[in-house]
Amino acid sequence: MTTASSKKQPPLSKNPFAKYQLDQFFDEMFDANLKVRPHYDKLLRRFSQLAGDELEQRRLMADLSFLNQGITFTVYNDTKGTERIFPFDLIPRVIPAAEWAHIESGLIQRITALNLFLHDIYHSRHILRDKVISEEHVLGATHYRPEFAGFQVPRNIYIHVCGTDLVRDETGQYLVLEDNARCPSGVSYVLENRQTLKRVFPRFFRAYGVRPVEHYPAELLKVLQYIAPRGRPDSKVVLLTPGIYNSAYYEHSFLARQMGIEIVEGRDLVVRNGHVFMRTTKGLESVDVIYRRVDDDFLDPKVFRPDSALGVPGLVEAYRAGNVSLANSIGTGVADDKLTYHFVPQMIKYYLQQDPILPNVPTYLACDPTDHQFIMENLPKLVVKAVNESGGYGMLIGPKASKAEIEKFRGLIEKKPRNYIAQPTLALSRHPCFINGGFEGRHVDLRPYVLYGEKVSIIPGGLTRVALKKGSLVVNSSQGGGSKDTWVLEGNS
């Protein structure tokens, strides 16, 4: 094995990556000849200097630190309510400056187009009239909210916080896998992973120029204040959570604490005279901006799901009256519908007259006759996704699925073609992970967090999620995924 040509390189027998396998995937750390990429060089050397069990000890130290801080999540469909830590892999993912600049400009372009799209479809619908996207695709989306057609959202911003999932293919090209334009979660792990890694490997950071991420909560707060009704400067901002039994409660509480704002549940809020108030020990106090981590459906039982116990009766009325602002706005779900996703490159051309900087993954629409036939003929090779599900649910990974599962999806697609899309199974890039005392490649993705306020801002990097199960392509925490710290460098190595 040839690694960096440094004289300080430890002897081969001590090289912890001596047995590392690429298995024909694009590897973030090594090139096809197993030569370390320049921006990972220092990291490789540091790891080579660590004694055999030192990494394992530090891993335990990191796990314990997460556990003691209560940085845990509860798994859906787990009746015992077991709390788990989100597995954290010690080896950071490193992104050189030039690569990040490319990603950043692509994300800015994309969020700009998505916002223009949302404004358009809730108002004049030019893009539908010009037949760039067919009307039934958009107006038939589950998360399209006809009630909000013609409604003016504060500052014309729909998606204030967007989590866009990126993957790299076998050539290393970054592709957009999906947009999360409703309530993307995971950003707290970006900040906690960084803190933990700093605790566990303080010396690493000195060797690298790693761009900080700690200002995310401050940036988010700026966005929330920017959209306050009538530009009120001393606006009262709160975070609306479904409560402690939500798997992301830790994150809600973390962000509220970091921003110094109140975290509220639906029952803490009341609406009177079209204004929102929270119930305090000193009586009612008015609320101006709600960073809601509750989906549209649960926001207001008077308008959406009447059985929602999480929401606030009358909230939508207050929102419509312009007395309270919401982030994200109601109705953004149509933008992260996986059918809409397919058309984002067209949107970019239509609204911005630009070519997309970050391409999409090729997508076949089950509701398109030609694509439909292709999907049905190639199910065992494709990944099928329900258009409005997230979190790795409602998915078929053809090459890994049993015959029965494939037939089940065939039936589902036949029944409701509008609800399904298919994509080729991607050879996602891999990254070395510390597993059973050695290093093995595991598939990764990247979720940067895009904030849209007075301007678009993106904290460098984002959440690198990793499918820790050998061979698995699913990175979601609910399905055995873990995460890594993500370093965007000041320079290119």
Partner: protein, 334 residues
């Protein structure tokens, strides 16, 4: 502050205090059983029932445990998560309270409680309990003391702190009254032989961490009326009922800003009244109706304060629309 947050803090204070009290009471009684000349199940049950009663769990215990022995009862009071007032349940609830208001309390408070809960729910705690009961209860008590200490020195003494205090001291006053009450039952069960009486009043003192305070103040044998005086009316001992009621009253006044002698809501009206009553009574007057009746009355009064706090701060009636506008306007002018 959000009403729900105030409620959580109040219960956080109460749950930690409750866990500590149970630990102390069970510990003392397990030791007492070693001295007591009782071996049969029926007799043991008679002895444990008042203790369970003192923890408010006698009915559940009766239903659940046909055969009673010290170990089973202790298990029911310490580990049983189906018993909402077991130590495990209290620590679990306290940790859930803390998790809910995680962003409103200090990181030190949260991490301490989270670690403590994880320990108590793990195999390590069971093992310690089996191998070294004394060490186990000592550990539990220290977890709670440490929580109060960390709270005291890492959280601003503002509204949040006051609600924690109110919860803590109401719970403590209530438990002290129950321990004193328990004594009444035990003496009725086992007869008033002098050795019995001494043993059991000593246990009462130890259940309230009051043995040393008693010795320092009275320099004498353990006598019923003096124990009652210390645990009910002492103004300096931090577990006496009067001390606790005074703390509750002062916290409530700091919350509202109303001076002693006056009141602005039902909670401080009741706490002020009870504090004055205790302040201007002798122990003879207090226990004139009988110890049991006196403690019963006190518990009712303490409960009423708790309910009044709930109605005043946590779940007040919300006025309909026109008044709200006026109120919100007024609130913003302050």
């Amino acid at each position: 502050m959000l009403s729900r947050v105030a409620d959580c803090l109040y219960w956080l204070g109460r749950n930690v205090e409750r866990a500590e009290n149970i630990a102390r009471i069970v510990d003392v009684n397990l030791q007492l059983m070693l001295d007591a000349p009782i071996r049969e199940s029926r007799q043991l049950k008679k002895n444990w029932l008042p203790i369970a009663a003192c923890l408010g769990e006698d009915e559940r215990l009766q239903k659940k445990q046909r055969r009673v022995d010290s170990e089973r009862v202790a298990d029911f009071l310490v580990f049983d998560r189906e018993n909402p007032n077991s130590i495990s349940s209290c620590l679990f609830s306290a940790r859930e309270n803390a998790r809910t208001v995680r962003e409103r309390i200090s990181t030190e408070m949260w991490e301490h409680l989270n670690r403590a809960y994880l320990w108590s729910a793990g195999a390590g705690a069971r093992k310690l309990y089996q191998n070294n009961q004394y060490g186990f209860f000592q550990n539990l008590k220290e977890i709670c003391y440490l929580f109060h200490g960390i709270t005291d020195s890492s959280l601003s003494h503002d509204e949040r702190w006051e609600f924690l205090q109110v919860g803590k001291f109401l719970e403590r006053a209530e438990k002290t009254s129950r321990v004193v009450d328990e004594e009444y039952h035990l003496l009725r069960q086992n007869g008033k032989s002098p050795s019995n009486e001494h043993l059991q009043w000593t246990a009462v003192l130890r259940s309230c961490s009051a043995r040393q305070a008693y010795q320092r103040i009275y320099v004498s044998d353990v006598q019923a009326s003096k124990v009652a005086d210390l645990l009910i009316l002492n103004k300096e001992f931090p577990r006496s009922i009067e001390f606790c009621v005074l703390q509750v009253d002062q916290s409530l006044r700091r919350l509202s800003g109303v001076l002693p002698g006056k009141f602005s809501n039902a909670a401080e009206k009741l706490s002020g009244r009870l504090a004055a009553e205790l302040n201007f009574s002798s122990i003879e007057e207090i226990i004139a109706p009988g110890l049991h009746a006196a403690m019963d009355t006190l518990q009712v009064q303490l409960n009423q304060i708790g309910e009044a706090i709930f109605r005043t701060y946590i779940d007040p009636v919300i006025p309909e629309a026109p008044e709200v506008a006026a109120q919100a306007e007024a609130a913003q002018q302050q």
